[in-house]
């Protein structure tokens, strides 16, 4: 009995205290130990045998952990095991696109001079910072995919079992040099909730699919219904991503998305939903377009015709064949008032960030990101709905005027001459038919006239308060040109507007 008590007390004291044994028998279920695909560096030994890596009594030279080679990345990358790149069959995508060793050493992680935890001498670039060659797991989720030390996204911002204290955690003292605090973004009220699901990439993990997979086929079910998910690696390839956001005015990806993948929709008729897609690997920044990544989850590609509640088909909304849209997927055909043209007197109408030579396109993350400009870029989280940088409320103009110059679209005083907008007194010939009168004088919000609804509200009875907004309606519409699908616009053509606020007005519209 005393012996039993001793054994039990030892177990509870040493074995369970702190829960440090995250491996706890997971190795046999790992890919390294798999009888079919496991480690086989030494063909004289059984596949997956511990001695494939650990030489027990050391080999010709003694290395740390009794490894067959120095305990650095060379053990993994120069051993004949992970020297070049993984393979995958067509049709399926093995996250997280491992790339190759050159990519790795050029990546933000692979080239990092930082240490984690800072000051302990262990480089961020070590494979074993993120991967446990023995594989880890827990009693709830089982073995973690890809031999990560933590369950998927937690590996990015956790330190062991301490959530939020990792490389991309909220504690500046534990973040390596150059690493952003992403965890704080993911705690916000609106966020890509990476904690909401787990192991979606590896639900079919088996020997023939060793790295987990997501189908690259349209409406495969891997992105919808119970499989709908988002993880860090859905957008970021930790083996290939480089630092940096996208170039404002372009719709190409930033370096942080390099190595991920997206889908390019085939062209569709105006107002139609694209139903055909081509998978695109983000091998280079040039030619890799951010919306392609977003469409992977926010289009017919992910969920077919049935969008999850609260979501819309972004590929339909940004369809370049539509009557009007924000230039996320392509440029606006008639863009004479959002850039400096002779038609608007060469007047700057956009914020300086867009006032450059590639100012005619944008990305989803231009609008969907933290509400705080100094936070890390990207749609990780925001305290505004829909992960927006500003309030989407119909009567709130701050969100829109962060890009569209307030001096043009909400001039504080009555403009004397050309504002650069098509809708000013100089162009329309009527002082009331102007942004100044509507926005500044009457306090009409941007979305009461622009990007508020997909279906126009009825003209009668007269209503000045905004009709309910439709999510995604600011993306684009085939209902009205000029994104005049506002919450209070029943009908519009250039030169004639029928709002719900007053009777139809005819005015002089500027040239396209």
């Amino acid at each position: 009995m005393k012996k039993l008590i001793f054994i039990c007390s030892t177990y509870f004291t040493i074995g369970w205290a702190g829960g440090i044994y995250a491996e706890s028998g997971t190795f046999k279920s790992s890919k390294h130990a798999d009888p079919g695909i496991g480690v086989h560096r030494d063909t004289n030994l059984p596949r997956g045998n511990c001695s494939q890596c650990h030489l027990q009594h050391d080999g010709d030279l003694p290395y740390d952990f009794a490894l067959f080679a120095p305990a650095d990345n060379g053990t993994c990358l120069s051993s004949g095991c992970h020297d070049y790149q993984y393979q995958w069959p067509p049709g399926d995508y093995y996250w997280s696109f491992p790339g190759n060793t050159t990519d790795w050493y050029n990546s933000a992680h692979g080239a990092s001079a930082g240490q984690f935890p800072p000051g302990n001498g262990r480089q961020v670039a070590l494979c074993v910072q993120c991967h446990d060659p023995h594989t880890a797991g827990d009693s709830i989720h089982g073995v973690y995919p890809s031999a990560t030390r933590e369950l998927e996204e937690r590996g990015c911002y956790s330190n062991g079992a301490i959530v939020g204290q990792g490389c991309h955690g909220m504690n500046g003292s534990t973040r390596p040099a150059g690493a952003d605090d992403i965890y704080s973004q993911l705690l916000k009220s609106s966020r890509h909730n990476v904690e909401a699901s787990a192991k979606e990439h590896s639900t079919d993990w088996q020997a023939s699919y060793p790295y987990g997979r997501e189908s690259r086929q349209v409406n495969s079910g891997h992105f919808s219904d119970s499989n709908r998910h988002v993880e860090c690696v859905d957008c970021h390839n930790p083996h290939k991503a480089v630092s940096g956001g996208h170039q404002i005015g372009s719709n190409e990806i930033g370096g942080a998305l390099l190595g991920a993948w997206g889908v390019q929709p085939s062209s569709a008729a105006p107002g139609a939903t694209p139903t055909s897609f081509t998978a695109v690997d983000f091998n280079t920044i040039g030619g890799s377009l951010e919306y392609q990544m977003c469409y992977k989850c926010h289009s017919y590609f992910a969920f077919g015709n049935t969008a999850p509640s609260g979501y819309t088909d972004n590929a339909r909304e940004f369809n370049p064949a539509n009557a009007s849209f924000h230039p996320v997927q392509d440029t606006i055909p008639t863009n004479s008032y959002t850039i400096q043209t002779p038609e608007n007197g060469l007047t700057q109408t956009m914020d300086n960030r867009w006032n450059n030579i590639v100012h005619n396109k944008m990305t989803c993350s231009d609008c969907h990101a933290s509400e705080t400009a100094t936070d890390p870029g990207g749609p990780h989280g925001s305290n505004n709905p829909y992960i927006l940088t500003g309030s989407p409320a119909a009567t709130d103009i701050a969100f829109c005027t962060s890009c569209h110059l307030g001096l043009v679209y909400a001039p504080p005083t009555r403009p004397i001459g050309e504002t650069g907008s098509r809708f000013d007194g100089q162009t329309t010939g009527e002082e009331d038919a102007s942004h100044y009168f509507h926005v500044t004088v009457r306090g009409i919000g941007c979305r009461q006239c622009h990007g508020g609804r997909q279906e126009p509200p009825p003209a009668q009875p007269e209503q000045r308060s905004p009709y309910p907004l439709d999510a995604g309606s600011a993306h684009g519409t085939n209902t009205l040109v000029g994104l005049m699908n506002g919450a209070n616009i029943s009908a519009y053509v250039p030169g004639n507007c029928t709002p719900t606020c007053h009777e139809s007005i005819t005015y002089s519209a500027g040239p396209e």
Partner: protein
Amino acid sequence: MVKNSLKIITIFMLLAVGTVADEFHGGGDILCSDCHTTHYSQSGTLPERAEPGGPFSDLLLIESADRLCLTCHDGTDPAAPDVLAPVAMYQGSGSEFSGGGFFSAAEGLISITGHDLGVITQVPYSNPVKATILSCISCHDPHGTINYRNLVIDPDSSGTGVTVGLGSDVFEEIHQQIPPSRNASIGAYRAGNIGYRARMTEWCADCHNILGQTDPANPPAHFNRHPSLASFEPSDYHNDPGHWAVGIGEGFGVATGDGIEGIPRLRFQAPGATDYTSATTPAASNQVFCGTCHFAHGGPFKSSILWPFNDQVSADLYSGCQQCHYK
């Protein structure tokens, strides 16, 4: 003739003062004439059990010491541990790591599953590298020593001895004399009858001297080869003392090679042990030693490892490692 006479005199003097053997081959469990003959006759009738072609060195009945030992230790004598394959003596005993394992051949063959008898081999992990012809008496003194199991005191004959004392470094549950005896069982040799405290690795490392050091490594590694005489402590030694202590689950089983993952608990040293019970109590302070992973003589698996670690993929591939490391 003079030399042989001196040996005979020596033998009788030893018997006269009582045996020096603390373990077997003493106390009447064996007779001088079991191994020696004083009057080997080439022209007359050979002594009982003698091999033709004598007389032999040391007045042995059989020219080869190894073959002489194996006349009893080949499984034919139920009171002597069987150390020559095939071994059935311990099957079903629940103590399969008994008797130091077994040799694959009497002598003259190089095997990959254990020590080789009567053939020149390079001593693994020796510095300087040396070659030797290993014999039973390289490790055991049949006349007895103060060491456990009659182990020789200076295996590499370097002049520096290693004592492994029964009752101080190794403990037995059953007194060494009762049994075995000529009329008793092999119970004394069962692995489950033995508890280790210290010195076993030191003794092996007398020849395999490279492995006598537990080389430190750079953090977070602790060693650059599998350590010996290391315990589970401190707690960051990349093992699982709780799993070891409980002894249930992965790594632990009833028998090796039964198709079910798990093998009997591996042997260990308990550095603070004072008796058999404390020497066989699993604890975080238990130490790994050579015998934890290897049979002294040999076994069914490559490298004399107690489980099929270097053999084909099997249910027990990781069992030995997992008992401590539980990865």
